[in-house]
């Protein structure tokens, strides 16, 4: 029993030691969803100027690359209307719902 207790303590310590911060961070995905719908969907729907674009259009790494490097260079002005936090929020939303993110296991 004594040894079991020590072993358990060690296991818990190991688990906490191994714990690292979550990957995507800093953004509020619920706010990001709102901002995405309000701003991006204006152009990015079927038949509109920007063409259809959903979170599933890119992988998580591709969304990160878009936000960190591309920064909407085809229309750079668009980018400037957002604050840094707005962009983080949208990045979080798109990252969390990207093509390679976990998806609900439902039909339809």
């Amino acid at each position: 029993m004594k040894h079991t207790g020590k072993l358990l303590t060690l296991l818990i310590l190991l688990v906490f030691a191994a714990t690292v911060a979550m990957a995507a961070s800093g953004g509020n995905q619920k706010k990001g969803k709102y901002l995405y719908k309000k701003n991006c969907k204006v152009c990015h729907v079927e038949g509109a100027e920007g063409g259809k674009l959903t979170p599933l259009s890119k992988t998580q790494v591709q969304w990160d690359r878009f936000f960190n490097k591309d920064k909407h260079k085809v229309k750079a002005d668009v980018w400037k209307q957002f604050s840094e936090q707005d962009l983080k929020d949208m990045q979080q939303f798109l990252f969390d719902h990207a093509a390679d993110s976990d998806q609900p296991e439902t039909c339809g």
Partner: protein, 591 residues
Amino acid sequence: MRRLFIMLAAILIAIPTGGFAADDLQLQIQELQKQIDEMATRVDSAEKKTATDRINWYGDFRNKADTLHYQDVTFNPGIQVNMTDFFMKVGGGALGSFAAFNPATPAAGLDPAINPTALDNMFNNLYLSNPNLYANLNAAMGGFDPTNPATFPGVMPFPLGTKSTYDINNDILYTTRLRLGMKAKVADNVNFSGRLLMYKNWGDSTGSKVFDSWNSYTMDGTDGGNTTGDWVRVERAYFDWNEIGGSNFYLSIGRRPSAYGPPSQLREDELRGGTPTGHLVHFNFDGITAGYKLSELTGIEGQTVRFCYGQGYESELGNGELFNEISTKDTHLGGINFDVVNTGTHFVQMTAFRAMDVNDGFKGVIAFPSQYAEIFAPTMNKDLQKFPNFNFVTRVQPSTVIGDINLAAIGYVLETEGGFNAFVSGAMTQAEPNGKAGMFGGLLSDAVFEAKLSQDGTEVIMAPVRATSDETQEGYSVYAGVKFPAPSGSVGLEYNYGSKYWIPFTQAQDDMINSKLATRGHAGEAYYIVNINPNMFLKLGGIYYDYEYTGSGSPVGTPLKVKDVQAGTAYSMLPVVDTAWDAYASITVKF
């Protein structure tokens, strides 16, 4: 002089540099061309790989340790017997006559000089196994007057063994669950989804369990949530045909995503794992869903209505249909699932469906408990005593349709950005028995047995003839919980209560003791999830069950007060658990 020297040096440096620059540029272009060619080759192979990878795979892998403890388990076997019929038959000679056994002097036993009749053997065995019961029966028979209904005993419980009560401790049980998810794109608006599953106890791949509870049945609808062995099963496989004809309709056919639905995804620490509410359904159904994304019309986010149809039991093919003796029917299910709103923060869901032509069990495989041979099969029991640790594996199928069940639930889940989650769900079930019964009973009612002679006339056997009741029975349940952030992860607290006649389809919930949501009584759970990294978590927790009524999760048999079984005034052919707890630790990796 100095100025001249500097100019000369500059010219000397510039001339070769200028010469090298053109060559270098050429070299760089060549190098870049090489790189482009190499990249093109690599992209080609990546493109080829992507084009030929028809299925995208993902999955999760869970190893879990449980310690299971059952308190005051009572085994008090008995059946409901039509004693009026029995006395009539004994008195009228329908069961033969006494020859080697004199009921008035049971202690004398069988006369060795005379071949015993079926009735001799039955009464002699009864006296030997339970002299008190024999005395009571004999006294009742003495006062029985076939012409006077006032002396008719009617249907009475008939004990089939001696009551025993005990605790059970399974100190450690290890399990491994591997789930392999599949996605494939068939066309722009058609997708295939599937999930393969291996779920096993460590050191066990027999695929059959000794039948000591309804949890131990290896069968179609619940294999996904019960350990079966080291083979991979298809837990779900279906296609979605979306935006049919440009509309908001979709059609989905196949083995359904009908387990781990809301709000049970919170305790699984995953996204919504199934379509119908998890409060009512954790069962692997095969069927069809026709859905309509109402949100496009109403503007209410996530609003979707789904009409679901499924088959829970195939009554003919494979059941010996060519012998033409089948009296069961296919079990069909039909209903509606309505996601009223699903914003990611607020989720409201309503589910209602009807299970039609429910049978007295399912097709499945069990290992036959030797305890039943002792009670019901004296001839077989003689041989089985030579093989005390052998349980023959047998296929079981139901014998009769016992009624219909209506089920409905409404639930709300709150998931905040800060990680605070809460849910509450209310559900009810309504069983409509038809008064028929198989050997395990009728719909939420027991079987009434009547005595008859075996085909060769050498043994009195008991056969189920009807159910004890055909009254509609309603049950209800509440399920509530919270999950909130804690250091390195989250903590969850859940509680559910089920009433006497509560009968949901949650038997594929993978709790080791029993589906906690099927509990007729109280169940509470606490857990702590530690996120090791985004794709790996540790879960520590425990579930406590306090059963008030017997038969949780079984549509067959009258729910009896656990206290009555413990007191010996009620009988059950399966051991009855009073309270139980399961403490567990699991580590899950997702990939």
